[in-house]
């Protein structure tokens, strides 16, 4: 199979002709498929329904320490939930605060607190002329939405195969005191599925920020979301690396069970140094009387410990692995030899990130929509929703059924080919 880049104009025109016929045939199928949703499929959610068989009117909803989970209290979570979530983050139980149904709200709240009250006594950010965040790109759109909402200037930092470009991160963090944070999804990154290399994590821990209130926002959303039991990425625990070099106040770690048990109905947690934790608890004591302990009780009784979590996640992997592999196979067959797109084959997480030829992403998304396939808007994985190269497309394989996923990936491949041919024809 010939690379499109090596085709003559005549060959490209012939290819275009063929693809247009194929596209018309696809359109005639009136498909209605959706690849935008980074959420579990119903079969995955079924995996956790057993949680509701371990609780009934007869249950004694007490913690190990004897606290009644049905009443107020336990601001930082019940001990057994702290222990479980410490396992997700590979940190100590005493570094954890267990929160409500979503880690996104904790991140929002952590930024809101810095805006109004500062960080460990620093000037509240709302009083500063300029606050900047580093945003590894492509990244998670909802991170960027939070910083944009608070009027924080976002600076793109390119992702590499080992994580963010650390030369650039070090330079910006160490030179500019208005840089107050960086968004990271360090394991199976959203959307590329890249896990930060050990060296990257160590360089993060060794950062010497110009701003004392600079924090690494370490969203370990896919901490346990491996696709292959015998080929997992291992992420160095940032909290421990920071402790080794005395920089433990520089990191906030986040995680949740949203894609372990129920999405938006699980529990979430933060891992932090003692100083950061006390700072947060001071605010929380005003904000809430405590998070839902009954849900903490059911989660800890159901998942038990990290062995339990890993066994549970293997069931998820069995459901979603074939979908990821189908996309990879179809792209490998249809796209790779034609040299019109690249992607990382992820070993975990929730996405496949497709890099089209420059200037093609929007057109591919539009073309796919015409064919009945909904894709995440081009630009979404970038601050301000602007992809400077117009090349990145996020594919979410978990929610559709396998056969739908295969059909959608084939249609997607056809759209990529058609748009790429058109692009190449306008260039030459």
């Amino acid at each position: 199979m010939k690379s499109y880049l090596e085709m003559t104009r005549e060959e490209l025109l012939a290819e275009k002709n063929e693809l247009e016929k194929e596209f018309q045939n696809i359109k005639a199928l009136s498909l209605d498929l959706n690849l935008t949703r980074g959420k579990p499929s119903p079969h995955q959610l079924d995996l956790s329904m057993g949680m509701y068989d371990i609780i009934s009117s007869k249950s004694i909803l007490r913690t190990e320490a004897g606290t009644d989970c049905r009443n107020y209290g336990s601001l930082d979570g019940i001990d057994e939930a702290k222990r479980l979530m410490a396992g997700f983050m590979d940190c100590r139980e005493d570094q954890v605060i267990v929160h409500g149904n979503a880690s996104l709200s904790i991140m929002y709240d952590t930024i809101a607190r810095a805006m109004i009250h500062g960080v460990l006594g620093s000037t509240p950010w709302c009083r500063l002329d300029k606050v900047k965040f580093l945003c590894p790109v492509p990244g998670y759109d909802r991170h960027f939405a939070i910083t944009q909402y608070f009027g924080i200037e976002m600076i793109n930092v390119p992702m590499t195969k080992t994580g963010p470009d650390m030369d650039l991160v070090e330079k910006l963090v160490q030179e500019d005191a208005s840089v107050k944070g960086i968004w990271c999804v360090p394991k199976y990154s959203n959307p590329q599925g890249i896990t930060y290399a050990d060296e990257t994590v160590r360089r993060f821990a060794a950062l010497k920020p110009a701003a004392p209130d600079f924090r690494i926002y370490w969203d370990n959303a896919y901490a346990v979301h491996d696709l292959y039991e015998d080929d997992k990425d291992e992420l160095l625990p940032i909290m421990r690396e920071c402790e080794k070099v005395g920089s433990q106040d520089m990191v906030y770690e986040f995680c949740s069970t949203s894609k372990v048990t129920f999405s938006g109905a699980g529990i979430s947690a933060m891992g932090m140094s003692e100083a950061n934790r006390n700072d947060m608890l001071k605010q929380m004591s005003v904000q809430t009387i405590g998070h839902d302990k009954i849900k903490q009780w059911t989660h800890t009784r159901y998942l038990k410990d990290m062995d339990g979590v890993r066994a549970h996640m293997a069931k998820h992997a069995a459901i979603i692995r074939p979908k990821f592999e189908a996309v990879d196979q179809i792209l490998s067959r249809e796209i790779a030899p034609r040299k019109i797109g690249t992607w990382v084959k992820p070993k975990g997480g929730y996405f496949i990130c497709f890099e089209a030829l420059e200037g093609c992403a929007k057109a591919i998304v539009k073309k796919a929509k015409e064919a009945g396939i909904e894709l995440t808007a081009a630009g979404a994985p970038f601050p301000y929703r602007i992809d400077p190269k117009d090349a990145t497309i996020r594919i979410a394989p978990t929610f559709p059924e396998l056969e739908e996923m295969k059909q959608a990936a084939n249609v997607f491949a056809c759209c990529v080919r058609l748009v790429s041919v058109e692009k190449l024809l306008t260039c030459c």
Copy 2:
């Protein structure tokens, strides 16, 4: 029985002598009772355990509209939960947003949003030199803690038997554009148990604030928390009254099931005008992917509708009514005839508010502690925890067992008498 106020010095000295002996006898009992906790007793929490019999691994956790409650989505809550919470607030379903496990967090967040983003396009409060809140006193300590945390100046407004002193409220709100809000617990107020009169509610709806971003923070925490089925206080629905006069953007209403089902593990909600609701949803779309819909599902399936809620609350009343009545009887017997304290006998809510002789509250709390009875700190129901008269003591009768409550109330009465005698002796 003679009023202490009419006693001669000799009579007071004799009384003191007797009371000191009684106090020594009490101390010898080494009691350990706690009247600080405005939270349900375990028996009350048992009432809702049936909720966990209606959910199991076999449940189809879908909303009436077919949404899967186990997955992301439904930012403003599921329809049936909106309908249920609209019943609590006597407003329309389309005015409701259902939130997480506690209304306190919504209040905190509503103020945080105003601080950073303003209210319906107004200047963010963090950019203003001065922001003030009116605080009907005595009131709810956690309200005051929120405004204090955000550096908002709090102005005391005395409570009357019909609600806050509305002459003062009108004057302050209409004259001072830095007054941005007022905290209200309009039904069975915390801690006095006073329900705002119809006229008070109408005057609230008719306020003409100098600040366009002034809001009434209407915390209807005890909307359905009646002690007597045949003698309930009726609160005029503020949302409707505001709509009648076109002031619907001026009120935020809050409620929750914290003292209906499980404390800190129920659901909460806000009722608002369309403009306020859209403003909040814009923020929420950045802050969260939605609140826990499984809990909304279990709550709506268990409580069903307002008839279900009322039947459920009657069971709560049956448990706590005897405790409230015991306190009332003991105070009526021991305190009232001696003219050394007053209180409103509440028909609902969670507290009894005792007004001691001026300058006695702190001493009574201290004395009770010596006798093994923990009372809420004097001053707690006031902004900055300063009770200008040092007279108010909040009693929380719900948590202790009935016999404990009786014992504690008797000890409390002894302490009130002893401190009052001492006070009167220093005055004359």
